[in-house]
Structure formats: C-alpha cells, structure tokens
Symmetry: C2
Subunit: 476 residues, 2 copies
C-alpha cells in the first residue's frame, strides 16, 4: 500500500470511526453472539492475493461488528469507563504513522522526553508527591496496565529487600507480600510470576468500609519477620475494583515505613479523579509510597493502553530490570545523560504512547479534564439517590466516586437474573461483584459520551426488568 | 471533542501521516538532537483551557519531529525493519476507535475469536506444527513483545517442572534455565523477573556458526540435575539479534525431550520469513517446542506491538497465570466454551490487536507477504556481494536472511567512528554489535519502503565515509 493508497483508505476509515462514535448508542452494548459464531463466518485460510480495502471494510461491518461489546457506548457501565476520546485516537494514529520505537532515548528522543515531561506534568496535575518527578530521584513511565505496574514494582521491592541478591541468585526462603482482601487480582498474579509464591501473599483483613486494617497489616508483617520470612511489598489500593473502597495510604504507609517495606499504591481507576482538588483526600499520605500508578485509560479520556507508573527512587527499579547487550549500546546511553525506558518495564520495545496523552492534556486542558471527572461523579451521586429512594433496592457500598454498587433486596439469584436481563436487553451493560459475600451490581459511570439521560434511561430499564422478572417474564 | 470535531481533526491527521510517509526519506534518519533539547521546548505545565487541534499539530511539527528517529525511513537499517504499513495503521485506527477491551471473550467476542482465528491462519501460513493450533490442545495469542512471550513461557515452564508448586509456594532451591551466549537479553531479564536468579541462567556455548551446542546443553542440564538443581527452561533462538544465527531447533529439541525440559523457540525477527517455503528450514524440529514466538511487527508489515506467541499445551500456561476474582466472572467464562486471553499474558487488559494483523494478511495476501520477505532477503544478498567484492570490508557473519553484519578491516575504533559518521550524516542509520568480540556493523534490510536504490546509496555513503575518515575528515 503506497502512501497515496493509504491516504484514500485511511480517510474512509476516519469516516467509519466518526460514524461509529456518532451512532454507538444504537448498538446492543453487550455483544449478543454465542461462542464460535464469529469464527464460523471467517474463511479457513488467508487470501493468496491481496484484497481491496472495501472488501475488508465490508467484513468488518458484517462479521466483526456483531461480535463487538461497545465499550464506548454511553450505556456501558461495566468494569470501568474505558475512556477513549477523539484527541487520544488521533494521537494513536500519529504514533502508528510514525511507527517509532521508544525503547532507547536514541531510538526517538522525542518519544522519551515527551513521556518524561508529560508524566512530570501529571505529578503536578494530580498533586502527587514531587518525589515522583524526574527532576529528583524518581520518575514516571507509561506501562500498558496496572498489572504490569504491580509486577515491576514488586520486582523492585523484592530486590530492594534483598540487596539485589534475588535477581542474581533467585528467591531464597520465604518472601512475603501484603494486600487487602479487596485488592486487585493482579497483585496475586504478580506474586506468582515473580516466583514468590501466591501463598506468600497475605490477604490482610479489611474493616467495615472494606479498607485495609493497618493493625492487621502491622501484625502480619511482624509475625512474618519474627518467623524469619522477608516481608518486601505492600500494595495499598486507592479505589478498589470491586467497590471503590479506599485504603488509608497514610495509615498503611506508616506501617510500611516502620518496617522498611516497599509501599506500592494502585489507584488504577480512582486516581484520575485527583485532577480535581476536592478528591485529593484519597492520596493523603502518598509521600510514604515507593511506587504509584493510575490509568488515564480508565477515566481520563485516553485510549488504552496508558497506565502511568511512578517511582520515588528510579535507581532501584532500573537496577532490577537493566541488562545491556552490545546491540543496544549507543553513545547517548553510555553517557548516562538520558532515560532509556526499556529498563523501566518488562518488554524491550515500546510505542510512542506519550503522544496520545499529550494530545488529550492539551485538547481538554485542566478544566476540561476536571469537568469530565465531575460529571461522572455527579451522575453517580444522582443515581445513588434514586437507588436509595426506591425500597426495592439498596446500596451495597457507599458511592465514593463514580461507581455505584447496589442490589435488589431479593437474593443473589434474583440479582444475577436481573443483571443478565439488563445485559441481554442490549440497552445497557453492567457487571457483578460480591460485597460481604453477597452479589452486587456494579454501575461505573464516566463514559466519554455518557449524559444524564443515559443514566436515567438505564435506571428505567433496571426497574422495568425487575417488574418483568417479578411477573415471571424472566430474562426476556 | 464530538464525533464531528473528531472527524475533521482526524482527516487532517490522516493527511499528515500520508504526507509523512510520502516524504519520510527526506528526514535525517537518526534524530540529531542532544539530550534535553526537546523537553526544553515544552511548557512547564499543561494548559488550563483546551487548545485547538491546529496548535497541537504545529507543536508536533516544530517540537516533536526534530526528536524523531525515523524507523519508517527506507534508509533505516538499525535493529530490525520495524515494518509498519498502511493496512496496519488503519487497523490500529479502527481498533482505537472501537476502544474495546479483549481481556475476556465476553468483553468483545470478535476481538478474541478473530485473534484465535488469525493465529491459526499463521500456523498454516508459516507451516508451524499443528500442535500450536487452537483446534487441538495448543493455541496462539498476541503478546506485546518477544520479551513478554519469553517471560510467560518461562513461568509456564517453571510451573510445569514443579507441578505448579512454585506458583503457590515460591521458588524452592535452584531452578535453572538455558540459552546460548547469543540469545536475546530478554531471556536473562525474564529469569530475573521470575525469581529464578540470573545466575541460574546457563549461557550455553556456541559453535563457530554462533549456534547453540547441543552437546554443551546436554552436559549442562545433566550436571545441574545431578547437583540437585531443577532444569526447567531452554530458549532456542531462530535468528539471533546480533547476527541472525540459527540454533538447530531439532538438535536442541532432542536434548530437551530427553530431559523433559520445556523448549521455547524465539524467532522474533526471522520467523516471518517462513511465509516463504524456501526459508522454512529454520523451523526444522519445531515439533519439539512447547512454545514459540515471532514478531510480525519486526518484518511482516504489521505495526508494533504484535508478537505472536504459540503454546502446544495451553492448559499449562493458563494454570500458571489464571486468577478469577468475582468482578471478572461471567456466564461465558464459567461455561468453559470460550478463550479469555487475559489468562495468557501478564496484563489483564488488552487492545484489539488482531484487527491490524487481519487487515495486513488480507491487504497483502500470501503472495504479497512473500514478495516483501523475498525483496528484503534479495537486497541483503546483493549488499553482501558488494561487501565481499571490496577489499576494505569483510563480512562479520554469514548473511543468512536480511541482516548483513560487516566491518571495515580497520580496528574496532575505526568501525565505531565509521558507524558514528554514517549515522551523523542523517542519510542512513545502522547499529553495532560484537561478533567474536569484535565490533561489527549491522545492516538490517527489509523496510516497508526500502528499494534497491536506497541500499545502493547507503553503500555509497559507507564508502564515502571511509574515505573521509581516512583523509582525516573524521565524522564530519
């Protein structure tokens, strides 16, 4: 495909995307296909001769689209808002067109320097501790996801606790990690990958607010240390996945400091809210953290993947992950004057992801981002009042930001039926969790295109389905 | 940004990308900026109010572009060809526009099923063992890079060797891994991350062709086992990064089978060549492999990131990486009828990357991809003959595919000066390696837009610079 052929096909694709975004709410939010249905419509083998773009576009519409769950629909309330936005899509397009690798500074200095710069901007924008800035001993980097951020933080913590001996000789004896029972599954996954053993992750008890008990953490670390184990990593969660509960970073951080244990703070979804001063309470005590991450791809209008990961001491991270083979050597790296982001992550190669984040920050400006967050929180608060006002429903957890966890007063089976009925309608998509061992529905508000009337219509839908189930019309 | 505002800005961006690709060879290939130069031109803080798209585009041109190293330039010969292409860029654009998560089948069935299908296509297209197909016990998945593929393969191997006890209880005693002295640094990085200790990676000796010695491997495994260690992972390289040397998969595989050790085959760059029957010799013996990967983003016209990773027994991989929290539960996953790719990788979230690969396979067709590979190999062979015919130069390794490793007959310092002079000219970008402890220049041919005349002009440039250095004009 020549640049001119690309130009023509890409203009068609832009119109396709713009049309899609303009009409996305007309699609069933959750794809209604059955397993294998998409594959059955694809040919057994790729074509021998190249095919024209219009044939591919036709199959995109006819074969692929029925199998899409529409994360950009204003009626998508499952998991997290998964904010994409025009500026981010365009940033990704330019990045794909440039096709550069940012693994070393030299392989595209702008990719590295813009990333460092924009991540420093974010430290100010969210009022994070200045220790995370590149001007001091810390710094930020874009990871694909919070899972990968947890893994590299854990590895750095493991090495920090053993004086980098583990990296050389492997895990010796028992090394322990800590997170609340409400922490994201990625922490346990990381502990497994890092060779520490999932059984050595302590699931620290939470209090009634589903917040990690600092006392229980303190006890667990003390007991492990007395038993000759090596506590090395605590993950605090600022906004749990299940219910947006907040560990007290200060209380947990004080315990970590006392014991000399690495504190990683995962604010994957909630962190974006700190662009607004009124939500910065969640980060109180963050100066205790050795590492921190939040995901603009969750709630800050930036396309996946974009997890912003910060460390207070970049040398520990680098020493844990650096290997310099001859074919990566170059004058700039040898000089020590530049950042080579390959040493900050698991993969070697990396796309120019800072571009989309830069496009977003500039297109929306600080005020635009604040307005976006406040809208999501405001709609969630409003939805919460509707739930509270209806006797058939109850909140399953307090609405702290943009996530409403609620349930029908019926039993778990009723709530699962209700959820399935809502999702089968195609008119909205929520998901489920368990809070205090009972099923709850999760309604995460904050989509790029979600307006008040969408939330209102979804509330109508939910109540309709309750009535239908009560009348024995089941999930139809 | 509304869909209509997006439409307008994105059309402008498409023209920007098309113009860029049409003129990319006019830019200095290697960015000539100094450390900090880009950052110094960026403002201290993001804007308070949103800015119009034309302002961002202006800064893209004025601030970012001087800091770009042009991987898509036809005169880029460093590292690997880093093939982007029109269809892949458009596939990524559509993927960004859809903004879906493919972490679970249910979160976009088409994202999962198209990926499974296209990776099955690739098994046939490259004539890989059918054990890698999803129809049997194996299957393929897109990872970001070969580094991540190595890591998940290593974790699965570690668990396979210990009956999944390591995942639960952590690394006990010494577990050993094996790769040749020429293997990619990502293997050592993975061994460190996985908690096995880098010292427990055996760097197996190579023969004169820089190929892993199966005898040395056999001895190393035997000795480790006799000493009570647990050998669990061998990485064979099909096309080393340094010089495109080929381990004999068959010879190494027979050793692995005899010892019951997991064989991972890394064909990151070279693997793409197997679309042509005449290059499939490199995969001889691949039926011994438990896992395999190659990167269409290196030489098969597909934008980064796209590493295709295959396993012969998906259950081992899944059991090593699966954790199912309540908030990810859904009817389709519970049924066991679907693939949830989140269990095949480190991150939880994932983009719809199969789309670009599908666009590429359909746009070029099998014959188009073969023609692309053959062109790169043909040009490399031709360049090799020029080197051989010039007394001042010598080959540093045989040209097996598209990479020419050569040097001036002068010493290492001369060759480094020569490389710096070439790269400082902005007219081409090569990189360096060491082969048998001597500096060599790497010229990787196979860019999307590289034609014969570009290679010819680069050869002229190289000889010019030799003359200039000889005349004491240095790197000017």
């Amino acid at each position: 495909m020549t640049p001119e052929e690309f130009r023509e096909a890409a203009h068609t694709a832009v119109d396709w995307v713009a049309d899609y975004l303009a009409t996305v709410e007309q699609y069933p939010v959750l794809s209604q296909v059955t397993p294998g249905e998409i594959r059955a419509r694809l040919p057994e083998a790729p074509p021998i001769k190249g095919e024209p773009f219009e044939d591919i576009l036709r199959d995109l519409n006819e074969i692929v689209m029925p199998g899409i769950t529409h994360w950009q629909s204003p009626n998508f309330y499952s998991f997290f808002p998964a904010n994409a936005s025009g500026p981010a899509i365009i940033g990704d397009l330019v990045s794909a067109g440039l096709g550069v690798q940012g693994m070393l500074w030299a392989t595209s200095p702008a990719a590295t320097e813009l990333e460092t710069h924009v991540l420093d901007w974010l430290v100010d924008l969210l009022a994070l501790p200045t220790s995370f800035k590149s001007s001091g001993r810390g710094g930020g980097v874009i990871q694909d996801t919070a899972s990968s951020a947890s893994l590299v933080a854990l590895v750095a913590a493991r090495e920090s606790a053993t004086g980098f001996v583990t990296n050389e000789d492997g895990v010796q004896g028992r090394m322990t990690a800590y997170a609340s029972t409400e922490a994201h599954s990625s922490v346990e996954k990381a502990v497994g990958i890092a060779g520490m053993g999932r059984n050595n992750l302590r699931h620290v008890a939470t209090d009634e607010a589903l917040t990690m008990s600092a006392e229980a953490l303190d006890r667990a670390i003390t007991e492990d240390r007395e038993a000759g184990r090596v506590p090395c990593f605590v993950a605090a969660t600022v906004g749990t996945t299940s219910s947006t509960a907040f560990d007290s970073v200060r209380a947990v951080g004080e315990v970590c400091e006392r014991h000399g244990v690495w504190l990683h703070v995962d604010a994957a979804l909630a962190g974006s809210a700190a662009v607004c001063p009124e939500f910065r309470w969640m980060h109180d005590g963050l100066e205790y953290a050795s590492s921190y991450c939040f995901n603009p791809h969750k709630w800050l209008l930036t396309n996946f993947d974009c997890d912003c990961f910060f460390v207070a001491d970049r040398e520990t991270l680098l020493r844990s992950l650096t290997i310099v083979p001859e074919y990566l050597r170059n004058a700039a790296s040898d000089s020590g004057d530049v950042i080579d982001y390959r040493d900050w992550q698991v993969p070697l190669g990396r796309r120019f992801r800072a571009l989309k984040l830069w496009f977003v920050l500039r297109s929306y400006g600080v005020e635009g981002l604040q307005a976006h967050i406040r809208k999501g929180v405001g709609l969630a608060q409003e939805f919460t009042r509707w739930v509270e006002a209806d006797d058939r429903f109850e909140l399953a957890a307090p609405t702290t930001l943009n996530l409403v966890c609620f349930r029908h007063v019926g039993d778990d089976a009723f709530n699962v039926s209700l959820l399935n009925a809502i999702n089968a309608s195609g008119r909205a998509y929520l998901n489920q969790t368990k809070i205090n061992d009972r099923v709850a529905l999760r309604m995460a508000i904050g989509g790029t295109y979600t307006e008040r009337h969408h939330v209102e219509e979804t509330w109508d839908l939910i109540r309709e389905r309750v009535a239908a189930i009560a009348q024995g019309k089941g999930e139809g």
